[in-house]
């Protein structure tokens, strides 16, 4: 941090000012002039929180995608199908048993198994052949989409939110002060906060596993140089299978999350594949912190865009991607 300030004093100043402005926007009571110019504070705060929580969902999908890419240099374009499959499994389990938590566990295991099968039956046979893998995964995603359409039909499915998560809670953030002097606090959907907290926990756990455990050390070594790692006697194929299972399982969990606060239907697979592609391109292919940063940026851009410039909201995400590709093509937090 100190070194960054020494090296780029101008940038550091801009960042500090931006953080200060943001903090003021979040915590202060807005003067009437500002409210007249850009709308009520409640709308702004909601959009920011929505962007961050949506970023949590994007992170869950994209982290698996980027993990698999980072280790195996394997662009798995069937990742969206894994997301949707996880969602459907979660729906089936939660309606059958009535347990929301259980649906996450089952979805994780089921989709991780699909990942293991994919790795063993498909990717292992075409290691290092990028183009072939890409074509095969596109083909697989189409086959999966049609199979799921066949089984689940074109309906919209929603994973039932447990009753203790339905409804809003009051956050200690002031949005306005009534003329009577009574403060008005922000109301926010509880389920989104819980899901966001869960994705933060998963993100931190992943970071710890990668940086503090032996397995993580092997995976990181594999990311740097696969061949040397294999030469040292590590059973690299086993590591590949494990990482693929974890990445796929995360997509499955994300599917249940997506099914809880949005909905599941055919077409969601490609939407989330596209979202995770954009997220990892912005954040940097193969980097977990990059996926987190990219996810929050894209989530915020979508939500703030949909409130303040609704007509062009769709374009904003792609503008960010274009900008990143133009200025820093390797992604914001890529190591190389």
């Amino acid at each position: 941090m100190a070194r960054f300030i020494e090296r780029h004093p101008a940038w550091a100043l801009i960042v500090i000012i931006a953080v200060a402005v943001l903090a003021w926007l979040v915590f202060a009571i807005w003067p009437p002039g500002l409210e007249a110019a850009i709308g009520r504070k409640r709308v702004f705060l909601n959009a920011v929180l929505n962007g961050i929580t949506l970023g949590g969902l994007y992170f869950l999908v994209a982290s698996g995608f980027t993990l698999i890419f980072g280790l195996m240099r394997n662009v798995n374009l069937a990742h969206g199908s894994l997301y949707l499959f996880g969602g459907y499994i979660g729906y089936a389990v939660s309606t059958w048993t009535g347990s929301w938590i259980l649906s996450f566990i089952v979805a994780f295991i089921a989709v991780a198994l699909v990942g293991v099968i994919l790795q063993l039956a498909v990717f292992r046979r075409m290691e290092g052949q990028d183009l072939r893998q890409t074509m095969v995964t596109i083909g697989l995603s189409i086959v999966f989409a049609d199979l799921m359409l066949w089984v689940f039909g074109g309906d919209f499915y929603q994973v039932q939110t447990p009753s203790w998560l339905i409804g809003p809670i009051q956050l200690p953030l002031l949005t306005a002060i009534k003329s009577s002097g009574e403060p008005v606090y922000l109301q926010y959907p509880l389920v989104r906060l819980v899901i966001f907290a869960a994705s933060v926990v998963i993100g931190i756990a992943m970071w710890l596993a990668l940086n503090r455990t032996r397995i993580g050390m092997i995976v990181r070594a594999g990311v740097d140089d696969r061949d040397i790692l294999a030469a040292t006697g590590v059973r690299i194929q086993l590591v590949f299978v494990l990482v693929f299972a974890l990445g796929a399982g995360l997509a499955g969990i994300a599917g249940v999350v997506g099914g809880t606060f949005q909905s599941l239907s055919p077409g969601e697979d490609t939407r989330f594949l596209l979202a995770s592609l954009v997220v990892v391109i912005v954040g940097g292919m193969g980097s977990i912190p990059g996926a987190a940063l990219g996810a929050v940026i894209i989530g915020l851009a979508e939500q703030l865009g949909s409130v303040y410039i609704p007509t062009y909201a769709i374009v904003v995400t792609f503008l960010i991607m274009v900008l990143v590709l133009a200025v820093r093509p390797q992604g914001l937090l890529a190591r190389r």
Binding site: R42, V43, P310, T311
Partner: protein
């Protein structure tokens, strides 16, 4: 050897069947939104189409109808692509297309490049399709979005006592047309529309849109459909929303009312208007509902047909009846068929339908309220039936033309 003889048998039976059923076919291309946000709407549209075939049969004199289906995703380019494929590759002679508003405008324009063919609109409801520069070979047997809102504004103002409302709608022609019809009547009665929010078709995360809804209104009008509507309701419930709701024609529809999950319960008591009402007691409607229910197993359909099923049923019915009138004669650029289509009056399940000089339907509209049938299923209950609704909504055509075409900001909230 065995393979060879089997192949021979198969081949000969194919030839035999060919001679046995050699009769002229009339090829009809059908499009529906079987992908994307409106998938469920497209599927139920096709159920309505199939119901019509079950009831009316496919025979036209000694000819037989053959239907070829193509899928679209509610975008205009997907509709034109599908229609072009049906014409150029499958050589269809008649089109039953499309389902959604923007698609309708595009297909109408495309119809002009094929004046020799006949286009029967399947379900699309943008006003512009038949109001501005209509194509002489494009026929629409369903009302447009504005006609489908007739009665709602007055009912909200006079009976429900709403004075100020805000609207949230998908950002495309059909919803513009719906809001057009609503605003015209509601503001004409003296109400105020304070805020109109537009979201892109296919929006998944409505949380910020919901946060931006104004608090100081009596009701919020929702012009959403398909997956968008379900997502909105789900997130509205999570945000603890409690405002009075009003619904557009594809919002208060079986496509949404029978979605899975509890979010739809927010709609109980919501008032809406549409070209149909689920619980209408008219014998023709009840017969259609029964035919629809008998055509499909219970888990492969809605409890009661959606607006899309009704529209596809009506347009298929009009086409088959007109073809029978001319005995399947498609000579001379289908002139006889076009003539018959323009003149035909059909007894559609949702009331009598005839066409005006722009080949746009004049029909019956329904104001409805959502009720729970006691077993957890939601239906739209009839509140008011309004016959003979035309495209200018009862306005003098000259006055109507001055209002302008439906868009994000048109019409203004005032009395015209």
């Amino acid at each position: 050897m065995l393979k060879g003889s089997l192949g021979l048998i198969a081949l000969s039976s194919l030839l035999l069947s060919g001679t046995a059923f050699a009769q002229e076919k009339i090829k009809v291309g059908v499009t529906a939104t079987l992908e994307g946000t409106y998938t469920v709407l497209g599927e139920d549209g096709m159920r309505g189409h199939q119901t019509a075939l079950n009831v009316l049969g496919k025979k036209i004199g000694d000819k037989e109808l053959e239907f070829i289906v193509a899928s679209t995703d509610a975008t205009p380019d997907s509709a034109v692509r599908a229609v072009r494929k049906l014409i150029e590759q499958d050589k269809v002679q008649i089109l039953l297309s499309p389902l959604s508003g923007d698609e309708g405008i595009a297909v109408k324009n495309f119809a002009k490049t094929h004046p020799e063919l006949t286009f029967v609109n399947a379900a699309s409801g943008a006003q512009e399709t038949t109001y501005v520069d209509p194509a002489p070979n494009f026929f629409r047997y369903n009302m447009d979005g504005a006609q489908w809102q007739v009665g709602l504004g007055k009912y909200a103002y006079e009976t429900k006592g709403y004075r100020k409302i805000a609207t949230v709608g998908e950002d495309y022609s059909f919803i513009y047309t719906q809001v057009f019809g609503l605003v015209l009547e509601f503001c004409g009665a003296g109400g105020q529309v304070t805020n109109r929010q537009w979201v892109p078709l296919g929006t998944k995360d409505f949380a910020s849109v919901i946060a931006a809804l104004p608090d100081d209104v009596d009701a919020i009008y929702l012009g959403l459909g398909g997956a968008d509507a379900v997502n909105f309701l789900n997130q509205y419930q999570q945000a603890g929303g409690k405002a009075h709701l009003m619904g557009g024609s594809i919002m208060i529809d079986q496509t949404i009312l029978s979605s899975k999950g509890s979010a739809k319960n927010a709609l109980i008591g919501t008032i809406a208007a549409s070209g149909q009402a689920d619980t209408w007691e008219d014998p023709g409607w009840q017969k259609f509902v029964k035919a629809y229910q008998d055509s499909f197993p219970e888990n492969k359909r809605f409890p009661s047909p959606s607006l899309l099923a009704t529209n596809y049923y009506g347009s298929t019915m009009a086409l088959i009846l007109a073809l029978r009138q001319v005995n399947g004669d498609l000579s001379n650029n289908q002139a006889k068929l076009k003539d018959a289509l323009a003149k035909i009056e059909i007894d559609a399940p949702n009331g009598k339908i005839k066409l005006d000089s722009n080949r746009q339907a004049i029909g019956t509209n329904f104001v409805t309220e959502v009720v729970d049938d006691g077993k957890g299923a939601l239906f739209s209950k009839v509140v008011k039936v309004i016959p003979n609704v035309n495209q200018t909504l009862g306005y003098d055509p000259a006055v109507f033309a001055k209002i302008g075409l439906p868009s994000r900001t048109v019409p203004e909230c005032k009395k015209y």
